[in-house]
């Protein structure tokens, strides 16, 4: 069991996290706009998360917290 929590206000939509998720579950939320005008990243299929923290490791803005 694992989950990731995205601070959507801090995300700059750089998409680096999308490229490293081994389960391919990190997506850009095209329907969300934060106050800085970015589409933040996030996860829809949370039950597939394995808590590897690759997304958090590559994130330049400490957007992601990982729980296991």
């Amino acid at each position: 069991m694992a989950r990731v929590i995205f601070d959507e206000e801090r995300c700059k939509g750089c998409k680096l996290c999308l490229t490293v998720c081994p389960k391919g579950i990190v997506v850009i939320k095209e329907d969300v706009l934060n106050t800085k005008g970015f589409h933040p990243a996030g996860v829809n299929d949370m039950e597939k998360c394995i808590g590897c923290a690759f997304c958090a490791t590559i994130c330049p803005d400490c957007v992601i917290e990982v729980e296991k």
Partner: protein, 248 residues
Amino acid sequence: MKTVFKRPHALNDIQMHYCPGCTHGIIHRLVAEAIDELGIEGKTIGVASVGCSYNNYDYFGCDMAQAAHGRAPAVATGIKRVNPDNVVFTYQGDGDLASIGTAEIVHAVARGEKITTIFINNAIYGMTSGQMAPTTLLNQVTTTSPFGRKPEIHGYPIKMSEMLATLDGAAFIERVSTHDIKNILNAKKAIKKAFQVQIAKKGFSIVEVLSTCPTNWGMNPVKALSWVKENMVPVYPLGNFKGKDLEV
């Protein structure tokens, strides 16, 4: 469930101003993680330099001093000589360290100052909008080499790690990269070891980190990471240049 990954304490809880996908953010976090893991935030003093990271004194939780362009190793020398028990680090880009600050870094290393330098090599000047750096690759287009870097006009890139490795005062020199997870984790190991080398009073430690500048390279952050792997790593080989087997 418990938290297995979150922002390190030594990195303040404020949004950093860097461009989306800029590797400064990753590297700041790696430095902060090393500080947390070594339990040294209370005795660390960082020296901010001039470039995009000029204001990282707002981002690190330890005491910080901002230095003139290129002079961070001299400022760090002054701080460390006054308080040898403090852990002192500089954080410098390629203009700061390899252009205007070449004398300062060479001599701080030559003197064997017990400080740690985090050297951000992204082959370009970021803050001033994309000029050629001493680390710009041959044929690379920048605002001051608009037709590509040509050796007969612009000379050749400088390999700082290799150059500094000729100095006896250097205890630990490693070049790392941020272009994928494996390399980011390796960079963290090197940065942590660099601090340990300082704490063990072995001499100067420097980690050269190959980094991106998506904005001035004119590509998206994901493509920029590939560019590091495909173009920078062949010119700036990764690895240890000094102190590989140092006991800390």
